[in-house]
């Protein structure tokens, strides 16, 4: 459902005055650069026109007049203009390039900073890939629009105007011939571009299908071989490549036809010019230099016109990109500081849920009218089926979400009165699948408290039981964890994320235990680390391990967004209800794993 929504959005294009205004507002902080490049492209366009005019003078006043002095004068001027032009070209490439990089940088920064403020709810309904595309390709496209796009438009317009003006000035009758060909050229160019773009879009679409098919066939090669599907697959794939051939070929020959068509239209203009020059020559009206100048100006003008079609197509895309970027920067965080939010200096105190109801989507409550009083320092274990509401409950404690109805109080005060930073900076959290950032082990631990010393880090690691395995790594604390922590095992990642939480010295501790089994030794270390974290802290643990459950002061069985059973381990066992079933099943499972003779042999080998 959400995927469709995001796909559809991709196709929303069109011009919108408000969006254009906002796009050009991006140039504001760098208006000097913008002015510089616009000025320079204008100048360079003028100089370009000057070259053609100089060629005319060289012919008329130098060669035809057989005036050597004038010839040298003109050529020297020409040489001087080449240098001047080079300076302008240098200037505008530099200015437009820097401007582009600056706008790109600004856009990325603006989006990233805004993303840090957005609530978890935004992330849960927006695919990461979508956000990434906004920050990467869309920001590129928008910055291209305000730099190269703007440059192209300025360059084209000035070229066309200057060429037309000069032609009318040189000979208005010949200029009229050229003018007639302009609309024809525009229509032809637009039609071609439209079709070529369509084919290229096709090519891209088929290309991603081809990549997908490769991917699937390679990852599933075992099944392909086992089922003897090779021939059928090759046939299916051949259909794709045939489509690709058709689209690619069509795009190529359309492009191949486009250029000659433009040239042909230009040729009609040239033919016309030559014909009328010939007629006029009888009356002695047109100089050879003028003829040469006209031929120059026609090309000078025709290229920008056919190029305009491309620029406008790109502009349309860029405006759509900008709309998506603005939709991101305009979204309002759902969980934000209230106007008078404050930091009470501590989050120690009882945590109370007062008739809390929460839903992600309207009318599908995930937590229903839940009330709970957790005493300071208490350890709460949350158990129950997946989708029962355990994670949501924990997210509410952390204030990643806020209750839709009811209240959560910390130390007797509605927690929405506190600032977000006050709460978050005092909560230590260990996730089910520990998230590590690429960098060294030390960097990752230090994430818990940025100003921690190396000694403090090691101390925390010793407390969490991570110290020994870290030292065994090749570079100890400075070993890189790899992208997403790939260099480490799941258990090791958990230990590091525990250490990180210990270092943060939180006042409230939240843990989502991993379901996957880790080896016995690491498991024992993790348990020890958790114990030292829970000591004296209010803790919420989504528990899967028996030892964790047994250690809790209170166990909550959460089902359908409500507390189904609550009590200590022995109380609940005696009840012989839901907890009893959960417990006995987990017991069998853990024992099976613990006494698995195969696992023993594997461990012995390591």
């Amino acid at each position: 459902m959400s995927i469709n929504y995001f796909e559809e959005e991709e196709f929303k294009t069109g011009f919108n005055g408000g969006t254009l205004k906002r796009i050009f507002a991006l140039l504001k902080p760098h208006r000097m650069f913008a002015a510089a490049f616009l000025g320079m492209i204008l100048m360079s366009s003028l100089v370009d026109a000057g070259f053609t005019y100089l060629s005319k003078l060289i012919i008329d006043e130098g060669i035809v007049a057989k005036n050597l002095d004038r010839l040298y004068e003109l050529v020297t001027l020409y040489g001087g203009m080449i240098v001047v032009q080079a300076i302008f070209v240098f200037g505008f490439i530099y200015a437009v390039g820097i401007l582009g990089e600056k706008v790109r940088y600004d856009l990325r920064k603006r989006m990233f900073n805004h993303l840090q403020d957005l609530s978890l709810s935004y992330y849960s309904r927006t695919p990461v890939g979508w956000i990434m595309a906004r920050v990467t390709s869309d920001s590129d496209r928008v910055s291209d629009l305000v730099t190269w796009g703007l440059l192209d438009i300025t360059w084209s317009t000035t070229n066309i105007i200057i060429a037309l003006a000069l032609m009318f000035w040189l000979d208005w009758q010949l200029a009229l011939i050229v003018l007639i060909s302009v609309p024809v050229l525009i229509v032809v160019a637009v039609e071609f571009r439209k079709r070529i773009l369509e084919q290229y879009r096709n090519v891209r679409k088929i290309n991603s299908k081809i990549t997908g098919t490769y991917n699937e066939n390679i990852t599933g090669v075992r099944v392909v071989k086992a089922l003897g599907r090779e021939d059928a697959n090759a046939e299916e794939f051949a259909v794709l490549t045939k489509d690709m051939y058709k689209a690619g070929y069509r795009a190529a020959w359309l492009s191949a036809l486009f250029l000659p068509s433009v040239q042909l239209i230009t040729a009609f203009a040239v033919g016309g010019i030559v014909y009328f020059t010939g007629i006029k020559a009888e009356i002695g009206g047109v100089s050879i230099g003028t003829l040469q100048a006209f031929l120059g100006y026609v090309t000078f003008m025709m290229w920008p016109i056919q190029d305009m079609a491309r620029v406008f197509a790109e502009m349309q895309h860029a405006v759509a990109s900008a709309e998506r970027i603005f939709s991101l920067t305009d979204s309002v965080p759902e969980v934000a500081n209230r106007p008078e939010a404050y930091d009470p200096g501590s989050m120690q105190g009882d945590i109370e849920f007062d008739h809390v109801t929460f839903y992600y989507e309207d009318n599908i409550p995930v937590i229903k009218d839940l009330s709970l009083h957790v005493k300071r320092g208490e350890t709460i274990a949350l158990v129950g089926p997946t989708g029962g509401g355990k994670s949501t409950l924990v997210n509410l404690v952390c204030r990643f979400y806020e209750p839709k109805e009811g209240q959560i109080r910390i130390g007797g005060v509605d927690y929405t009165k506190y600032s977000l930073h006050a709460i978050h900076s005092r909560i230590g959290i260990v996730l089910q699948t520990p998230h590590l950032f690429s960098g060294s082990i030390r960097d990752n631990i230090r994430y818990g408290r940025l100003n921690a010393t190396d000694e403090e880090i090691e101390e925390a690691a010793k407390l969490a039981g991570a110290h020994d395995f870290i030292l065994k790594q090749e570079k100890g604390y400075d070993s890189p964890v790899g992208e997403g922590g790939n260099n480490l095992s799941v258990g090791q990642k958990q230990l590091i994320s525990l250490t990180r939480a210990i270092l943060a010295k939180p006042e409230i501790f939240v843990m989502d235990e991993a379901t996957s089994s880790v080896d016995t030794l690491t498991e024992a270390l993790i348990q020890r680390g958790m114990e030292s974290l829970q000591k004296g802290r209010t803790s919420f643990v989504i528990a899967h391990r028996l030892s964790t459950i047994r250690r809790a002061d209170r166990i909550l069985v959460i089902e359908d967004g409500q507390i189904a059973e609550m009590g200590t381990h022995s109380e609940l066992l005696r009840l012989k209800g839901k907890y009893y079933h959960l417990y006995t099943r987990q017991f069998r499972h853990e024992m099976e794993v613990a006494f698995d003779p195969f696992l023993e042999t594997v461990k012995a080998e390591n």
Partner: protein
């Protein structure tokens, strides 16, 4: 434009050559005449362009300067249009033909690679990274396509333009021609150096881009950690650092451009001036006519400016050749012959008696055998279970049956005939593999079930298979039923559901020999019973090999092999093994022990 089958079926293995250019030439096989035609058309097109300048020459000298009228004036005007028409038509023809070559060769290459990869032995796939392989098949193939479509023909175009226009100028005046091309080597060398350096700078820019993307992605996927530790500020700084570095590298890339273009402008411009002066002086002296001079102005443009592109094409062409090599590396690999083997029994005649005699196996790149000294006999319809830990060799052992790998010692027979005498295609058609978490393709459920059956299957039959696999009800509960898409763009099936789809798939295939993988079990209890039942139905009257990790899955087998480190440490039926001391009995005892422990635990509570 139809492509003949023989051209499409050309064996690209022929294109394997030490010399890359020879290889590329062979890759064009079947399209060489197209490519030659493209080159000739390009030549004629360039020639008529030159003719346009010469016509102008004639027009000025005859009509304007001398005032003669050998032909009516509109002839000259039409001449320009006619030449443009020829030029346009031929440049279009050339574009079309080269597109046919490029797209056609690429289409064939894509088809070949796809088929080649699925025919490469499993040992190749085991050691090759999927991402790397896909990249070669997509971006490297595209680089080869660009080599044919743009670079090779582009170089040809520049060379032809040079030759023709140079000849034309030389015909006007040899001295003028020679003096006009002094700067050409300088331009080519400068641009080659520049583009090589730019491509390096671009790589470093792309590297930083990848780093920035990783930082962004880690931030987005780790949003809960960022919020939990209130590290927004830290993240903003980290991103800003990477963002700035990207800005810096982008600027460096830009600076190279800002220097190259103006400088090459100056070099080209100065060369033009030299030509102007010499040409103008010659005109004044009467060495050449005014018409010659104006024609020269047109001709020289087509020599000088395209040269700047020559460097770009050469550098890009060389990366295209690197890509070609990377593609050829895949093509060089030897395919697994599917139909090789001298013993081909009738389709339904296989009984399914499998005998292992002192079988051993080691990987090509390994020193130690993975399994050794395996001896057992399995009568038709019997089941053999392989019990052992990860890495004990049980998967390697069953991989020998469909000849995914070849055994290295001893003898395996099927119905008394050496397995190596059966063609792989036949052997695999007789075997069905059901994995614990089977690979499904992103197609509809129906297509997944009929995948590999090799005939059109009516829906009733598909439904019957799905019913037998206990998955029909699940499929019917989807809004689109059997036409529901599986995977990213469709529904996500659970492990158990996938397995039952695979069971249905195997039922339809109706193999004589069955391989079941049951080594990791994480399915919940309700579905486990259903799957077990479905499997029982599947195993009926089929020789079955079960890879297992737990005793429950092997108890009913006719023969149980307990594997440890590639050796069979125990073998026999369940009753026999329980009576012996050994690993099997240990595992079995644990089951009973768990129950007593659990009772004790619960009793303690009361």
């Amino acid at each position: 434009m139809s492509v003949s089958v023989s051209v499409l079926n050309y064996d690209l293995k022929n294109a394997v050559s030490k010399n890359r250019l020879v290889g590329l030439w062979r890759m064009m096989s079947g399209y060489r005449w197209h490519y030659l035609g493209a080159t000739i058309a390009l030549g004629i097109s360039a020639f008529s362009q030159t003719a346009t300048a010469l016509l102008l020459n004639f027009f000025i000298d005859t009509y304007l300067t001398a005032g003669e009228r050998p032909y009516p004036l509109y002839f000259v005007g039409l001449g320009f249009i006619g030449l443009a028409l020829i030029q346009g038509m031929l440049s279009f023809t050339s574009g079309r033909l080269s597109a046919q070559t490029a797209e056609g060769s690429t289409r064939r290459l894509r088809n070949y690679l796809f088929d080649h990869i699925q025919h490469l032995p499993y040992s190749y796939h085991r050691k090759t990274q999927t991402g790397e392989l896909i990249q070669r098949c997509t971006s490297d193939v595209d680089a080869v396509r660009r080599f044919f479509a743009d670079q090779a023909i582009g170089v040809g175009r520049i060379v032809l333009l040079f030759v023709i226009n140079f000849t034309a100028i030389a015909l006007i005046n040899l001295k003028l021609a020679l003096l006009s091309i002094i700067a050409v080597p300088i331009i080519v060398i400068t641009s080659a150096i520049f583009f090589r350096r730019v491509s390096k700078a671009y790589e470093s820019f792309q590297e930083q881009d990848a780093i920035l993307t990783t930082t962004l992605q880690e931030n987005l996927t780790g949003v809960r950690v960022v919020k939990a530790f209130a590290r927004q500020e830290h993240e903003i700084n980290k991103f800003d650092r990477d963002n700035k570095e990207k800005y810096t590298r982008g600027r460096r890339l830009l600076l190279m451009h800002t220097f190259f273009w103006p400088i090459s402008d100056i070099i080209c411009g100065l060369q033009m001036i030299v030509g102007y002066i010499i040409g103008a002086t010659m005109t004044i002296n009467g060495t050449i006519t005014l018409g010659n001079y104006v024609a020269y102005l047109g001709l020289i443009t087509w020599i000088i400016w395209p040269m700047r592109n020559l460097g770009r094409l050469i550098v890009q062409g060389s990366t295209g050749m690197v890509s070609f090599n990377r593609v050829m590396d895949i093509i060089k690999e030897v395919r697994e012959p599917l139909d090789e083997g001298d013993y081909l029994p009738k389709e339904d005649s296989v009984k399914g008696e499998v005998i292992f005699k002192d079988v051993s196996f080691k990987y090509e790149d390994g020193n130690e055998p993975v399994v050794k000294g395996i001896n057992f006999t399995c009568l038709p319809g019997q089941s053999v279970s392989l019990l052992g830990s990860t890495g004990s060799g049980k998967t390697s052992l069953v991989n020998l049956l469909p000849r995914f790998f070849e055994y290295s010692g001893g003898l395996i027979t099927l119905d008394g005939i050496d397995l190596k005498r059966y063609p792989r295609r036949f052997l695999r058609s007789q075997m069905g593999i059901v994995e614990q978490e089977p690979f499904l393709f992103s197609r509809t459920i129906r297509e997944n079930i009929t995948y590999g059956v090799g005939r059109d299957v009516p829906l009733e039959e598909v439904e019957a298979a799905a019913r037998a696999a206990a998955i029909h009800d699940v499929i019917s509960s989807f809004p689109q039923g059997y036409d529901t898409l599986v995977g990213e763009k469709g529904v996500t099936l659970s492990g158990g559901q996938k397995q039952r789809v695979a069971i249905a798939r195997t039922l339809l295939k109706n193999p004589r020999i069955l391989i079941l993988d049951d080594s990791t079990s994480s399915v919940d209890t309700e579905t486990e019973a259903e799957i077990r039942e479905a499997l029982q139905g599947l195993m009926k009257d089929r020789t079955t090999f079960i890879i297992a990790h737990r005793i429950q899955s092997v108890m009913d087998s006719d023969l149980i092999l307990v594997l440890d480190k590639g050796l069979v440490v125990q073998c026999g039926r369940h009753e026999e093994l329980v009576a012996q001391e050994g690993i099997y009995k240990q595992i079995f005892d644990i089951q009973t022990r768990i129950e007593t422990e659990l009772e004790k635990e619960i009793a303690n509570v009361d």
